[in-house]
């Protein structure tokens, strides 16, 4: 079919309109002066998307707050999306661009990706929150004490499963649903959770399941159902988006849930009865501030826990006070005080 004269004219008109609209804007944009050279530019690489992910929201917020304190500093949030396969290329292209003095990111997997990128771009400085890598002079890492955090969750779960609370069953059995198995999970979180529970209620068993990714809520729900029907009454989901499947199963199956990393009491009052938290906003703020001031010891790796105030169990939430009996609350708080010494 031939183009009719009218549609041809329409296309031509549309094209011209677009040209008129866009070209001047493009030229104006290209001609804009670059930021002055003495500025300190920070790229916050979010391995995922910020919206709906409190950990990454805190990361962005902490970096922005630090940058706002200095006239010459500016933080730029760059989202990498949820496909892990795209992260190496994206972070390399930010490093290659070379216009950021510092790249801040957060995720235990990032050091592995960036260590390689760093060899290609040795001048680029990186900060990792919630990651660990020592000895690369361009990289500073701060990790949270995962063992301690999981220990708190386990200790609380042990107190609950051995209690007379409404949904606490006969067996001393609790559950952990992980997104995937990784070194921190196997070497710190699971042992911490197990030992915490043992200390609170000797003989408590942990039913450990793996979703296989960080988003599949229906798989999370299925696993949680199995755990609950196996006799466990407290679940700790550490599985990203799949956490919501676990939560649903707990609501339907009359079990309790402990939230990890951020406050989860409002997610399902009465079901989420406990919440550990990491202070990622404060930690990022302090770390980035030190980097801007030039006092951050690149090349070293730090670890922060209860003592440093970066890991905690949220005990001042009204929902916690409402749904957890006083003796359990008191036992948990006194254990936290012992650990913080």
């Amino acid at each position: 079919m031939k183009f009719s004269g009218t549609s041809k004219r329409w296309s031509a008109a549309a094209l011209t309109l677009l040209l008129v609209l866009t070209v001047p804007a493009g030229i104006a944009a290209a001609g804009r002066a670059e930021a002055p050279d003495d500025s300190y530019r920070i790229a916050v690489f979010v391995p995922g998307v910020t919206a709906g992910s409190p950990i990454y929201e805190m990361l962005a917020e902490g970096a922005r707050r630090a940058a706002d304190e200095f006239d010459h500093a500016r933080a730029n949030i760059i989202e990498g999306g949820t496909n892990q396969g795209e992260w190496p290329g994206k972070i390399a292209s930010i490093a290659a661009q070379g216009d950021h003095d510092l790249i801040v990111t957060s995720n235990p997997a990032m050091p592995e990706i960036v260590n390689e990128v760093s060899q290609r771009f040795p001048d680029q400085k990186f900060v990792f929150m919630d990651g660990y890598l020592e000895g690369n002079p361009s990289i500073y890492t701060l990790r949270y004490d995962q063992y301690q955090q999981a220990y708190l969750a386990g200790y609380f779960a042990g107190l609950v499963t051995s209690s007379t609370m409404e949904f606490a069953g006969e067996q001393l059995k609790i559950g952990l649903v992980a997104g995937q198995e990784y070194p921190d999970m196997n070497q710190s979180i699971l042992p911490g959770y197990r030992e915490g529970a043992q200390d609170a209620a000797p003989g408590t068993e942990v039913d450990f399941r793996v979703v296989g990714n960080w988003y599949d809520a229906s798989r999370g729900k299925e696993l949680a159902r199995e755990i609950i029907s196996g006799g466990a009454d407290v679940l700790l989901p550490i599985s990203g988006g799949a956490n919501y499947g676990v939560l649903e199963a707990a609501i339907e199956g009359d079990a309790y849930v402990i939230w990890y990393d951020t406050s989860g009491y409002h997610e399902a009052p009465g079901t989420v009865i406990g919440s550990t938290a990491i202070m990622q906003d404060t930690a990022t703020y302090e770390t980035v501030k030190a980097a801007i001031e030039g006092s951050l010891p690149f090349g070293s790796a730090d670890k922060a826990g209860l003592q440093e105030g970066m890991v905690t169990f949220i005990t001042d939430d009204p929902l916690f006070e409402e749904h957890v009996p006083e003796d359990i609350r008191r036992a948990l708080i006194s254990r936290m005080e012992e650990l913080a010494k």
Binding site: A14, T22, A29, R32, G85, G89, Q180
Partner: protein
Amino acid sequence: MKAKAAVSASILLVTTLLLILLSPEPAASVRGFFSGPFRNLYSFGSFLASASLLTIAGTGAALAFRGGAFNLGGEGQVYCGAVSALSAGLLLPALPGNLGTPLLLLAAAAAGFFIALFSGWLKYRFSIHELISTYLISSTLVYICDYLISGPLRDEESFLIATPRLPEVYTLQQILPPSPLHTGVFIALTTALAAHLWLNRSVRGYRLRIYGENPACIRFAGIREKTYALLPIALSGGLYGLAGGVALLGIHFRGIQGFTAGLGWNGIAVALIAGLSPAAAAAAAVLIAFIEIGISAAMAGASVTYDLGLMIRGIILIMVTMKVFTSNRKEELL
């Protein structure tokens, strides 16, 4: 040719307009988008590396279309190609690189070839339309590949859902360090050129085109119909698989869950922009790669969210298939 230039120009213009309308910092975004591949050596190299993969995938998509078949299973074929090469590289005993690399690429192409061939056979034997069978099979295979990477092939020490790295001897030569450009760019050009010559200068290529336009014609000419019912889609799958292999050996060197995602669909976009001509696929691949790199650069420079980037990319791909463009293209083809 004029029409193709107009298509390309309008796509770039619409992208600019979208960025101006949607970006929180329009100026920085537009600048980032247009300077995308040319900001530094790294981005230029990754631009060409990405265009190479798209050229191979796009040539594959075009071959199926020209033979009258719809191969919507590119995603699974690419992923399976990559995972086959990966498994071969990790599980087989070590081979010298000059033997191993072609063998792994062959494994990748073979995987895609046979997967697509199966869909062709379902069509020929049971009249199951390949439009649905390629897509359904591919969607299933994506999960199987995900499983292989997160299960049996997984590197337990890694924080990523990823396999160990392949032995270095198998990887394609890097040609523009520190960028990821590699010798796969020559594989891509050779593939597109070979497909072009085969399609336009060989008897079989001629028959394939005739079959694509009118299968009855081949039947009445007394030519074995089965060959041309199976060949286009199988070749298409083979090239998709090859694209997965090149992505593995040239860029990633290890399997990371979902690492080839998008290549299958983008291959179709490349084929459509190229007017289903393998020779034009390289040019169309350059355009799509430009858009990809440009969007990333626009995102990096101006806090454009990831979702917004995806949306702009989606709008561009929809534009590519718009009637205004396709009707003109058909005229050039026929």
